[in-house]
Amino acid sequence: MSGVSGRSGVVVAGVGMHPWGKWGRSFVEYGVHAARRALADAGVAWADVDLVVGGETVRNGYAGYVAGSTFAQALGWNGARVATSYAACATGAQAIDTARARILAGLSDVALVVGADTTPKGFLKPNAGERWDDPDWLRFRVLGMTNPMYFALYARRRMDLYGATSEDFAAVKVKNARHGLANDNARYRKEVSVEDVLASAVVSDPLHLLDICATSDGAAAVVLVSDACAARLGLADPVRVAAVSTVTPTYPQAVIDMPLLATDSTAAVAAGERTFKESIGAAAYEEAGIGPEDVDVAEVYDLSTALELDWMEDLGLCARGEAESLLRAGETTIGGRIPVNPSGGLACFGEAVPAQAIAQVCELAWQLRGQATGRQVEGARVGVTANQGLFGHGSSVVLVR
């Protein structure tokens, strides 16, 4: 475990995905495919799984609301315990946390965690109906505020405060596109140039179409097991879950967060030392007993190219305002000091909400096992993920080997 003292007891026995894309089929089919891949990878029979945790999708009818039992039924009712988690983009990590807790508590031995989604074309938008007390509805009605506009606010701020340029943002896309070339599960496997990005339409200034991730169909699954089960499976030197952070903000949340129309105020309570996004990674590091200097590889939620730069700083991989320097020096490319998004990231996958945080864990598992053919970060033993959700949801997972 390379000197890392993190909480043990939960082993990543198997991982699997359904390739990302626009396939036009049911999320259930994607989820079952990913689940069977993960079970095969772990060498575990479905009948031996004693817990299924589903990442909920809110755009696929009732079956999506109860994703855990939907997957359990589709795989064939086996009497397992079941749970379904939802936490916007952090859904997958919450599902992993629920499974991890039951294993650590001695309540489960072999858990299957699955997230799958189908996604509509164009902007993500609220479900139909008028809801004047729903911030996610109001931001569209009163402001016309789409998701990319939030990303653009953060991007513009990087430009004005730290001197980031549109070329920097494009360089993130170029890097991730190159990383994803060899990834069979990625949707886009094509080199992109800085010129391509800059020539694409501006969606919300300063972000171009190619700065913003698409929405995809896709699925990811992991099999988590107890130490005792890992021993039975003969897993020597396995990948372990050292931390799962699912902290909420501390009042006042002073950075504007999707889908809200305003931040909390500092009228009664002063802002804390850390931003919410900084606290997500900090909690993960604390739980794992490591610091950012121990991290070999990171998978972060690049909803936009500029957000990858934010996350590098939020996770402490570099000081505030220094992400562009690292990027320009090639340090975040595979082969650099701290490769970011070796999978290709959302840039190559597109977003599939309940699957994404699980997919990040799949990639880290392959990286830590040395199985990330064509995109391997050599010698990686410690990986961290980060993602962000609406309404005070973010997540960070630390895997170690």
């Binding site: 109001l138 569209f140 016309g144 606010l153 009042y251 504007i256 305003a262 009228a267």
Partner: protein, 149 residues
């Protein structure tokens, strides 16, 4: 002859109109914390305050840009386009504005101004303009207008 219906706010109670319009926040009567939009929250958002009553207070009319952007594609419903049918939709700008009271409020940018008129830390002032027209007539909203410097 039918008279056109009067303009009404797109949401009641979020801002005042007139010569010096202002946003309305809910202030906790116990700890003084401010919340915008002024939703009728049962509980104070300050985790260490047990307050359950709020009063309406006006926020400062001027603030500084925390960041800004624009919409170059028409947002999906429940967004309602302002133009009448047949007319092309026009992009609009949006700013996150930090007020002296210590909160950042998102708002569209006043008609006729774009991201080129703004940068982080530039000053803006609240105005009220028509957002769109619906079955009840013109609906107004608050917007941020660059202050000539």
């Amino acid at each position: 002859m039918t008279s056109s219906p009067p303009a009404t706010p797109v949401v009641e109670g979020w801002f005042t109109d007139g010569a010096e319009p202002a946003l309305i926040a809910a202030r906790c009567t116990a700890c003084g914390d401010l919340v915008f939009p002024p939703t009728a929250a049962a509980a104070c958002r300050n985790p260490r305050c047990a307050g359950e009553e709020h009063e309406a207070v006006a926020l400062s009319r001027r603030g500084r840009v925390w960041s800004c952007t624009d919409a170059q594609y028409q947002p999906p419903a429940p967004y309602v386009a302002p133009q009448t049918e047949g007319e092309p939709w026009r992009p609009f700008a949006l700013a996150a504005v930090e007020l002296p009271e210590g909160l950042v409020v998102l708002g569209q940018v006043a008609d006729g101004f774009g991201v080129g008129d703004l940068r982080v830390d530039s000053e803006v002032e609240l105005v009220v303009e028509v957002l769109h027209v619906d079955e009840s007539g013109p609906r107004t909203t608050y917007r941020w207008k660059p202050v000539a410097s």
